[in-house]
């Protein structure tokens, strides 16, 4: 990415214009033409630096429940267990971490009951458990607008 690309990314990361001609508006702010803005964003997206250009919804406002889960999985069972866990479209993030509870994933579903149902089914199908279910009781910060830095 050159400096112009970085300026575009910084600008549309903080907020994409909700207007009739957003790319023309971005261009007007950065001194670029509408076509150039569109072409540059296409390029940045195909390079993978931007993984998505759209809306991130608050699951609660749409009536959904979310949680963070962890489970201990023995190394020899890991591959099969991950396949089962990841098979749920409700699982959005899943990481291996350095703790006895070595598999950590987030899960979003229409209700807390549905979450418990999915977890019980998952334990059964993967032969793992117990999965600990840690829904947030209080949110202190959620902020995804990290600044673009050189690297």
């Amino acid at each position: 990415m050159d400096d112009t690309d970085k300026k575009i990314v910084t600008y549309i990361q903080a907020g994409f214009p909700v207007s009739a001609h957003p790319y023309a508006d971005i261009g007007a702010r950065l001194g670029l033409g509408e076509d150039e803005v569109i072409e540059r964003i296409k390029g940045i997206m195909s390079s993978g630096e931007i993984r998505r250009l759209g809306a991130s919804f608050d699951s609660r406002k749409l009536g959904y429940s979310s949680t963070l889960c962890a489970v201990h999985v023995a190394p020899e069972k890991l591959e099969d267990a991950i396949e089962v866990i990841n098979s749920y479209y409700n699982v959005t993030h899943n990481y291996e971490r350095n703790h006895h509870y070595n598999v950590w994933f987030t899960l979003i579903a229409p209700s807390p009951d549905r979450i418990r149902e999915i977890l019980a089914e998952m334990e059964e199908r993967a032969g793992i458990g117990p999965v600990i279910n840690l829904p947030a009781v209080k949110l202190f910060k959620i902020q995804v607008d990290l600044p673009v830095i050189d690297g």
Binding site: V9, I12, Q13, G15, F16, V18, A20, H21, P22, Y23, E34, I38, G48, E49, I50, R51, L53, G54, A55, S56, F57, D58, S59, K61, L62, G63, Y64, L68, I82, N86, Y89, V91, T92, H93, N94, Y95, E96, R97, N98, H100, Y101, F105, I108, I132, N133, L134, A136, V137, K138, L139, F140, K141, I142, Q143, V144, L146, V148, I149, D150, G151
Partner: protein, 161 residues
């Protein structure tokens, strides 16, 4: 606390969780797809941004590709009556992107979580040590991810929902 969305609003959610069209009038194109006018789509998106239904509207970047090489999930054992105060201290740090209070569980004594971002693992450790000092909390653990098994954006109102 669910809200009753109309079927065209649900359809609009489905489209907005994909990529915005790279066309001169993308909201007009989205409206055409869901049976709404451009003005209706703009008003709805603005309403959702204002009331927090849309948490963020714009480009989601790959942090790891843009210089944040390491992240650590820090987990803290905080006396419940101090959770709010300590959460506030952590939330004020620039290096912390997410911070929550969660329940404890069997084999898991930690109740406050803070996601720490840094250029290296060592930098994350320094940040955690500094947060521990500022908050006056001694018992914590840093969990680094050694492998990413999955990372997607949730798709709402799909399949059986």
């Amino acid at each position: 606390m669910g809200r009753a969305l109309t079927s065209s609003e649900k359809e609009l959610v489905r489209l907005l969780q994909e990529d915005i069209p790279l066309t001169p009038a993308p909201f007009s194109d989205l409206g055409e797809a869901v049976g709404m006018t451009e003005a209706e789509v703009l008003a709805k998106v603005q309403e959702w941004v204002a009331d927090g239904t849309i948490r963020r509207f714009g480009a989601m970047v790959r942090h790891q590709k843009l210089g944040y090489k390491a992240n650590a999930m820090s987990a803290w054992d905080v006396p419940d009556e101090r959770a709010e105060e300590v959460g506030g201290v952590f939330a004020a740090a620039d290096e912390v992107s997410h911070c929550y209070q969660r329940p404890r569980a069997e084999g898991w004594d930690y109740n406050v979580f803070a996601m720490i971002h840094g250029a290296t693992a060592a930098e994350c450790e320094e940040v955690a040590a500094e947060l521990a000092r500022r908050a006056g909390v001694e018992k914590y653990d840093l969990l680094f991810s050694s492998k990413e098994f999955k990372k997607i954006s949730m798709k709402y109102f799909m399949e059986q929902d």
